[in-house]
């Protein structure tokens, strides 16, 4: 092996490394651009009033999105009420009880659901719930978001349960513990933090959805006290403000987008920190 060949190989290696680095930069550039742009345009309108006040009527300046922020939390709560139990139990079925054929069907269905465009969920819930109930409601919006959460939660639950070493299952069974108790008290507990992370990520993902809510809970300008009436939400409020004709509304939309992104970022970072630090169970 002569020096020339060695240098040629070294050059190739450096070239590939550089190409990888460039691609990595390309990946994070959009995130940085979005953050920069939102902070530049939204931060100036983001103040205490924005977080605590209701929207003002047309023509008045000021006001905020407090009802939309709370509304989004309520909607995500409703969605989690549907998506988490069904998703976790479905994931448990896949990982612990199902056999090859049924698992294939369930996984395939979950993947199809996962790939379903969110506007379709809006239309489906509109047809199934909004029309029979004669009106949009927070329930309908929560249901649409809940449907979207199910496949996300199923797949993370299944993946997290698959990480639990089989030795724990065998140890529990060898103690004469029935299988369902083994799943609940040993396997789910061991995978608990990972599943929680998955649930949080799924929640933050659906919290930003606009399309399923347009048909199901188009929003209002006031505090909601009744879940069978439309409730306002951040994404829809941003949409309404952004397509409105007033500069003041546009500034509100930017501020709302910044708040939404900050919530999503906080949930993501928080979820990763908790699992990163406190999950020695699955590290073995």
């Amino acid at each position: 092996m002569n020096d020339l060949y060695y240098n040629w190989r070294k050059a190739k290696s450096s070239f590939i490394s550089a190409a990888c680095f460039v691609c990595a930069v390309i990946v994070i550039t959009p995130l940085a651009l979005v953050l920069f742009h939102l902070v530049r345009l939204g931060a100036s309108s983001l103040d205490w009033n924005f977080l605590t006040q209701l929207p003002k009527s047309v023509g008045e300046s000021g006001g905020g999105m407090a009802n939309a922020i709370v509304g989004s939390l309520v909607l995500v709560g409703l969605a989690a009420g549907i998506g988490v139990p069904i998703g976790v139990l479905g994931g448990v079925y896949l990982a612990e009880f199902g056999s090859g054929k049924t698992n294939f069907v369930v996984r395939f269905a979950a993947d199809i659901l996962n790939g379903t465009p969110s506007i379709v969920w809006g239309i489906v819930v509109y047809a199934l719930v909004v029309i029979p109930m004669k009106g949009a409601s927070a329930y309908a919006g929560g249901l649409a978001l809940g449907f979207m959460m199910i496949p996300l939660v199923i797949r993370t639950t299944e993946e997290m349960l698959a990480l639990v070493p089989n030795g724990y299952r065998e140890a529990a069974l060898a103690l004469g513990i029935p299988q369902w108790k083994m799943v609940v008290h040993i396997v789910l507990k061991t995978a608990g933090k990972g599943i929680l992370t998955g649930v949080l990520l799924a929640a933050s993902r659906v919290a930003g959805e606009t399309a399923p809510l347009l048909f199901t809970t188009p929003g209002n300008h006031f505090w909601s006290h009744n879940l069978s009436e439309p409730i306002s939400s951040l994404p829809v409020q941003i949409y309404v403000c952004a397509i409105g004709p007033y500069d003041d509304w546009h500034r509100q939309a930017w501020a709302g987008a910044l708040v939404l992104l900050c919530i999503a970022l906080a949930v993501n970072v928080g979820a990763r920190l908790t699992t990163g630090r406190n999950s020695p169970h699955l590290a073995r």
């Binding site: 724990y168 065998e170 140890a171 060898a174 004469g176 108790k181 040993i186 169970h281």
Partner: protein
């Protein structure tokens, strides 16, 4: 016995003196004791179409250590796992033949496998204390998940099991620490305590010391010799010196068949079968 002397020197002076080692070959027929713990007749086990055990018949004597030896893949672990019905949840596994425990058919249709597993404890090669639980919780988990709620009873059984596993003195001040904070050898003895806490009559051990250093191994062996006074123990081991040190009886398995089963002293000094002799003298395997 070098194993126990090694261990004693590492214990603090306050620790209880180690009990005298039991004789290697116990009385085979103590009065009022059933003569046989496991009576295995014509046991065949398949995984799908692959036959792993072929017509195994042997009788495991009570209150003694029976070692199962043989090269990798000969079916040792499969044999062990059929004694507590661990194959039941393996898709494609099929068990044929009969196994009785103290005269009771383990595979009869009315027998609940979880009940079998409560009577036949098991310890695995890789120590596997539950990572979400403390030392104390690990010991009592089998009782708690089988419906025992009384605090006093749980504490009493926990202490007794930890003492039997020769772990009490080392962990009594950190019963509520996470089980994974213990050393590897301590974790394995914790798993033994966990198995003992539900008071099984039999203990199955699948290479319980193969992942441990020599000192921790010596402790486990000493513990096994102590436990055999109360329990029937069946142990799978790759280590022939270990089998010779701790067991009263040895079964040699090869390619899914039982080649020879006899008193350990005979297997290692004067086996009747040429294959056994070749294996124990290290000529193959």
């Amino acid at each position: 016995m070098t194993a126990s002397t090694m261990t004693n020197s590492t214990q603090p002076p306050s620790a209880k003196p180690a009990p005298p080692a039991a004789p290697d070959i116990p009385a085979r027929r103590a009065p009022a004791e059933p003569a046989v713990t496991f009576d295995v007749r014509h046991l065949n086990v398949w995984f799908s179409s692959n036959q792993v055990l072929d017509d195994i018949s042997l009788q495991v004597p009570p209150k003694a250590v029976t070692a199962i030896i043989g090269p990798s893949g000969c079916g040792k672990s499969t044999f062990l796992r059929s004694l507590n019905r661990m194959h039941d949840l393996v898709p494609g596994a099929r068990v044929q033949g009969s196994i009785t425990l103290f005269g009771e058919d383990l595979y009869a249709s009315h027998v609940d496998p979880t009940v079998v597993r409560r009577r036949v404890g098991m310890v695995f090669q890789k120590s596997n204390p539950f990572p979400t639980m403390s030392v104390a919780e690990n010991v009592t988990v089998g009782l708690r998940l089988n419906g025992v709620r009384q605090k006093a009873l749980l504490n009493e059984r926990m202490e007794r099991a930890l003492r039997m596993a020769a772990l009490w003195d080392e962990v009594k001040d950190r019963l509520h620490a996470n089980a994974l904070s213990l050393s590897g050898g301590q974790q394995q003895r914790l798993c033994i305590a966990r198995a003992l806490a539900i008071e099984p009559g039999v203990l199955l051990m699948d290479e319980p010391a193969s992942a441990l250093d020599p000192l921790a191994t010596a402790k486990i062996e000493e513990l096994i010799l102590e436990l055999k006074k109360q329990f029937t123990i069946v142990i799978v081991t790759h280590n022939m010196q270990q089998a010779a040190r701790i067991s009263g009886f040895t079964a040699f398995l090869y390619l899914g068949r039982l080649v020879e089963f006899d008193e350990t002293a005979k297997i290692f000094t004067n086996p009747s079968n040429q294959q056994t002799e070749d294996y124990v003298t290290g000529r193959f395997g």
